[in-house]
């Protein structure tokens, strides 16, 4: 979305961009695009215990025309690849892609010599912004991925980082 030049010279454009970025980051609408096992952890992240709604991302839209972010959750098979590309192309700008799970990152446990059926990672044909490893990643990992995406969009992180150990 282009920002139009406003008539009044008092309004600066950079803060407007920042406001827009803040708005986009805190209301990311994901697409219901669960392919395999990771989809269940995505559903669990949206459900009652992990509650993605706290971060503004609970509105999973089936239609790509209404989404901001495509969470590729699951293995992409060669038969499915054209459908994924079509869905990505149908999403309006600005759009982001999160590759959730080992299969979306690099093919996961299904890569073996002589494999004939899967695409080894979503980044082979899509521009991926965030990679969330795991098989399947915990819902908390998906939430951390969404927070990383927010940081990528706004430039700063609003939520505290949890230190391990």
């Amino acid at each position: 979305m282009e920002t139009e030049k406003l008539q009044s010279p008092i309004v600066h454009l950079a803060p407007l961009d920042q406001v827009l970025a803040l708005g986009r980051a805190n209301s990311l609408w994901p697409m219901t695009f669960g392919l395999a096992c990771c989809a269940i952890e995505m559903m669990a992240a949206g459900a009652s215990r992990f509650d993605l709604a706290r971060f503004g991302a609970e509105v999973f839209r089936p239609s790509p025309r209404q989404c901001d972010v495509m969470i590729v959750a699951g293995t992409i098979s060669k038969k499915m690849e054209p459908a994924v590309k079509t869905l990505y192309d149908q999403m309006p700008e600005p759009k982001w892609v999160i590759a959730m799970g080992n299969c979306a990152i690099s093919g996961g446990p299904f890569v073996f010599p002589g494999q004939y059926g899967i695409v080894e990672g979503a980044d082979k044909f899509l521009p991926v912004d965030i990679y969330i490893p795991g098989c399947p990643p915990r819902p908390e990992a998906l939430i951390e991925g969404i927070l990383e995406l927010e940081e990528k969009i706004t430039g700063s992180r609003r939520w505290p980082r949890v230190q391990c150990g």
């Binding site: 395999a36 459900a47 009652s48 098979s77 446990p109 002589g114 004939y116």
Partner: protein, 372 residues
């Protein structure tokens, strides 16, 4: 309810359902030929999540294939672990200690309850009700916490080994299971009040989507789909394995053959699974959880073997062909939802599209299990 729409001279159009669709529970595509809102012909198109499990079975050693079984039907992964472990144990002749058998049955039944809870939430979500999903997921998280403390995984379990299980259960798990059963039993009346007795659900499911016994026989349908059509067939009672003969539980069978019958079968199965877990915890013997003489590298005798277990969705079968080496020669996975979905095309002819989706929901599909 369904119109006679066999006359093909009607003006029809083709509607594509999926592969990305909220109600198909995975990447299933159905090519629908529609006459208005009525379905004239439905053709499921599969293969969008074909992950080459059977080819991997030939490239992996017997032990290396175990994680694959968790990723077939990830909602009830322990039953699939169980089927594969039993098949290899049968081929190699390994005996499992009794404590391990009890632990296997207890964890499989807890997984079955979790799978049915998720089915319940997702099914009512398909019909348009969002709230039961959140309640069901809350209960399911309690089960996943318990199973995670023992197996280390929340979803794609790889807990069974040839000869037993790899980790023993502790007192926290036993107390946790008992508390959970008490909690779920107190919440089931709420589920029935909120959902089962809801007039909208009854209107959506009663007398909708009949699947006759003859159709079940011709397509090989098993599991709650078969039991909702009046056939008392459950592998745990019909072909007893593990320590299921020690437990006292019923098989819910409903004869109405409609979607409501299949829904009620699964709700009642949750109660029966809770009974099995209770009895298992009460009768749990002491002892090792792994066979003393389990070989590290399996090399079963040449020949083929078959093994079936009752997974949450039906009868899961494994046909193993061994050539005496440490990798299987052929590993066929008989998936229950594959046979259950094959009758969708015949069952939904002439139905309204929303009714057909309600029927598909009661078939309880997990597409990666169909595509393997």
């Amino acid at each position: 309810m369904s119109a006679e729409v066999i006359d093909k001279s009607l003006e029809t159009f083709v509607l594509n359902l999926g592969p990305q669709h909220p109600a198909t529970h995975g990447v299933l595509r159905v090519k629908l030929t529609m006459d208005g809102e009525y379905i004239v012909h439905a053709e499921p198109v599969l293969g969008y999540i074909h992950r080459m499990h059977e080819k991997m079975g030939e490239n992996r050693t017997w032990a290396q294939f175990m994680p694959n079984t968790g990723r077939l039907d990830y909602l009830a992964a322990l039953s699939y672990n169980h089927g594969y472990a039993m098949a290899a144990e049968r081929a190699e002749g390994i005996e499992v200690p009794e404590r391990a058998e009890y632990i296997r049955c207890i964890t499989v039944e807890m997984n079955r309850i979790a799978s049915h809870l998720l089915w319940f939430g997702a099914f009512v979500l398909d019909l348009g009700g969002f709230t039961p999903l959140l309640y069901a997921f809350d209960d399911r998280e309690q089960i996943l916490d318990l199973l995670e403390s023992v197996t280390g995984a929340r979803l794609t379990f790889c807990y069974f080994r040839f000869g037993g299980v790899y980790n023993d259960i502790d007192d926290n798990f036993i107390t946790g299971c008992r508390e959970f059963i008490k909690r779920l039993r107190s919440r089931m009346p709420m589920y029935h009040d909120l959902v089962t007795k809801n007039i909208i659900l009854i209107k959506r499911l009663k007398d909708i989507g009949p699947i006759s016994q003859d159709m079940c026989r011709r397509y090989g349908a098993t599991g709650p789909v078969l039991r909702g059509s009046g056939v008392n067939f459950d592998v745990r009672k019909h072909e007893p394995y593990s320590v299921y003969p020690e437990f006292d539980f019923d098989i819910p069978v409903y004869t109405e053959c409609d979607s409501m019958a299949r829904y009620m079968v699964r709700m009642d199965e949750m109660e029966q699974s809770m009974r099995i877990v209770e009895q298992g915890l009460n009768k749990l013997p002491e002892g090792p959880v792994m066979a003393a003489k389990a070989p590290k590298i399996l090399k079963p005798a040449k020949g083929d073997y078959y093994c079936a277990v009752e997974a949450a969705r039906g009868s899961f079968g494994i046909r193993l062909v061994s050539d005496g080496t440490n990798t299987p020669y052929r590993l066929k996975l008989r998936s229950p939802t594959f046979s259950n979905l094959s009758l969708f095309s015949e069952a939904c002819q002439g139905m309204l599209l929303p009714d057909a989706l309600a029927l598909m929901g009661t078939l309880d599909l997990v597409i990666p299990e169909i595509d393997r």
